[in-house]
């Protein structure tokens, strides 16, 4: 009995211990460590850890440190519910900042609403996801597609062929592209989709070749379908200007010669020539050494998202949700992608970069479009 009492007392002191010092702000990161997002997730976690380290080294925020709590969301809705539940109600995190699939985001939003904490979504997505608790610092179709079409038009393209994977994001992107092409006086001469696990693009490529289109825009699922389509396009001798809305810089790099000439549109490219970007890349290398993942259009918004949250805390001067949410729409942070402010209906105007893959696999910035507006994403917020 006496021993049990002693143990209880000991446990109580241990629990009380950290509470005596200022508790750190907890940042919940539900992310796809398994499933479709598992290739990119490690780079996202690294970016968050780097931002937190840097902020802590400068004394933290409001006299408190920041701390990252990672949970696997399995890249889908079911995993996301578990991950959000455990982060919001068990770990009691102060905010969620993460890149996820759209399914995972939609599953997590009601939980964030119930827990009444801010949620910064750092993945590009199909747009129009609105909640008082949700802020987005990555691009939507309205920001990614116009630079591509405008560039192709300036190069003389009048007719376009669209190819995609048959899923919400692929169809959403191309639907927007079709509308934008129509609006700017171009013509869509073909639009074809293949299921996500489809491997043979031959009939579609034959249609493309006989359509006589001036330019090709594709939006497949990342990874395998994208590579398969590109290989088959090249082996069929397709040489018209080719913009790929779904390829990331890393994949383009490893595709080598097959990828040469492909146009990509992103808010982050490693070749951005700014001191903020160079410092960021050097810091990443210093912290993680050989294990450092190449930063990308999903990991950099995560890095900046952490900084934006810290800035909002500082501006609000409190952890109360309402003032922090208000501040999130007002603060800016100058990061690797430039100055980011989530001021437009909880979305951020972003500088978009149009890159072209070179023969050696590097991506050259062909043109940049400053502060592209996300359009009316959430008119009721």
């Amino acid at each position: 009995m006496k021993r049990r009492l002693l143990l209880t007392a000991l446990a109580a002191t241990m629990l009380a211990g950290p509470a005596m010092a200022e508790e750190p702000f907890l940042i919940g990161i539900p992310v796809g460590l398994s499933g479709a997002n598992s290739v990119v997730a490690p780079s996202v976690v690294q970016a968050a850890e780097l931002a937190v380290d840097e902020i802590n080294a400068k004394g933290g925020v409001l006299g408190r440190q920041l701390k990252v709590v990672v949970a696997d969301d399995g890249s889908g809705a079911v995993g996301a519910q578990k991950a959000f539940d455990s982060l919001v109600f068990q770990k009691n995190v102060n905010a969620i900042i993460s890149m996820e699939t759209s399914a995972a985001r939609n599953a997590g939003l009601p939980i964030v609403g119930k827990g009444k904490i801010p949620y910064i979504y750092t993945s590009f997505y199909e747009g129009h996801s609105c909640s008082p608790y949700l802020y987005v610092d990555a691009w939507v179709p309205q920001q990614q597609v116009p630079p591509v079409v405008d560039y192709l038009k300036a190069e003389g393209a009048k007719s376009y062929f669209l190819i995609g994977s048959d899923y919400a994001f692929g169809r959403g992107m191309l639907e927007f592209a079709r509308k934008y092409i129509d609006k700017t006086g171009g013509k869509v001469v073909g639009e074809e989709y293949l299921p996500m696990d489809g491997t043979d693009w031959t009939p579609i490529i034959s249609k493309l070749k006989s359509s006589g289109a001036d330019a090709l825009i594709t939006s497949t699922a990342g990874g395998a379908p994208n590579v398969t389509l590109t290989k088959q396009l090249r082996s069929a001798g397709v040489t018209i200007p080719y913009a790929n809305l779904a390829v990331d810089e890393g994949t383009a790099k490893s595709m080598g010669a097959d990828a040469a000439g492909i146009l990509i549109s992103a808010s982050y490219i490693t070749g951005i020539d700014s001191t903020a970007n160079k410092d960021f890349m050097a810091a990443l290398k210093k912290k993680f050494g050989d294990k450092a993942r190449t930063p990308n259009d999903l990991s950099v918004p995560e890095y900046e998202g952490v900084y934006l949250y810290a800035a909002a805390l500082k501006k609000a001067g409190t952890t109360d949700t309402r003032p922090v949410l208000k501040a999130l729409g007002e603060v800016s942070y100058k990061g690797p992608r430039g100055t980011i402010t989530m001021s437009k209906q909880h979305h951020a105007p972003l500088t978009m970069y149009l890159g072209q893959v070179q023969k050696d696999g590097s991506v050259k910035v062909v043109k940049s479009f400053k502060d592209v507006d996300p359009g009316d994403q959430c008119p009721n917020l």
Binding site: S38, V39, D166, E192, Y193, L194, P195, D197, G198, T199, D200, W201, T202, P203, I204, S206, K207, K209, S210, G223, A224, P225, N226, V227, T228, K231, Q232, R234, S235, A236, G237, T251, S254, M255, G256, A257, D258
Partner: protein
């Protein structure tokens, strides 16, 4: 013209992929559900050959040998004890496929891998430019088909294999070493799957799950074809052709299910498929 070439080359690729499966099914009467994994192994042989800096063409013999050796081990230790229980053999090979996929993930990572293109560019055929590599695949299918006919019709092993296909008990009584024939057949089937995997690399991405998408299609084709290579060629031509036509004139999404749906209909009407051809 393009349409005809599309049909021919699509059928050729399906044929090359399904032969390994048919070989094993014909003699051993089991469906090797690890077939997809062997396609993947073949493709990763191409990746490994590329990383070693060898000529990409060497990937073909390497993949055949690696596939055959691994196939030999699999037959000896996993499949052989299960001949009397074909359903368990399906389960065992399916499980083996998962294990192989995970081992590849451990060794090479989950990412998509890349190999040097074998035959880039296009050739002009009667006024249409067409991918040289797909034409090469067509040639490869014809060579494999003819090679197999010769193996089955013109060699001692083929004669024994045909004896086993027709009546295994009788063949055994007549003094044929059926165990050995099964073993060699399984090795050849797995070697062919490896070869097909290399053939796929210039056309698809190479990742640990790449074989799966092709497994289902080749399974359907083999079900329709039964045990004959001529029937398999016919099935590939008809079903592959239907897939191309549906994709071209209706929708590629429907095209994706054409082979499976047609195979089901054919087997409903004629349970033996094309095996009487």
């Amino acid at each position: 013209m393009t349409l005809i070439l599309d049909i021919l080359t699509t059928a050729a690729i399906l044929f090359v992929i399904a032969t390994g499966l048919l070989t094993i099914f014909g003699v051993l009467k089991i469906i090797n559900f690890a077939h997809g994994a062997w396609l993947t192994i073949g493709a990763y042989c191409a990746v490994a050959v590329g990383q070693l800096g060898w000529s990409p063409w060497l990937a073909f013999p390497v993949a055949f040998v690696v596939g055959a050796v691994l196939g030999g081990l699999t037959e000896r230790f996993i499949v052989r004890p299960l001949y009397a229980r074909p359903l368990d053999a399906i389960l065992a090979t399916w499980g083996l496929g998962i294990v192989v996929g995970q081992l590849i993930t451990l060794g090479f990572g989950r990412d998509v891998q890349f190999t040097a293109p074998l035959l880039p560019g296009t050739a002009d055929i009667l006024g249409t430019s067409y991918s040289i590599y797909r034409l090469f695949a067509l040639g490869a299918a014809i060579v494999i088909g003819l090679g197999f006919s010769w193996l089955m019709e013109g060699t001692r092993l083929g004669l024994s294999a045909r004896a086993v296909i027709m009546n295994e008990a009788l063949a055994h009584v007549l003094g044929l070493d059926t165990r050995r024939i099964r073993w060699v057949t399984f090795m050849i089937g797995c070697g062919l799957a490896g070869l097909a995997g290399v053939l796929l690399t210039p056309l698809t991405s190479v990742d640990p799950n790449m074989g799966l998408a092709w497994l289902v299609g080749s399974f359907m084709l083999v079900m329709v074809a039964g045990q004959s290579f001529a029937a398999l060629a016919l099935a590939c031509l008809l079903l592959g052709g239907a897939q191309v036509l549906v994709s071209t004139f209706l929708s590629p999404i429907l095209g994706g299910i054409t082979v499976a749906v047609l195979a089901a209909i054919i087997l409903r009407i004629s349970p033996k498929g094309f095996s009487r051809v």
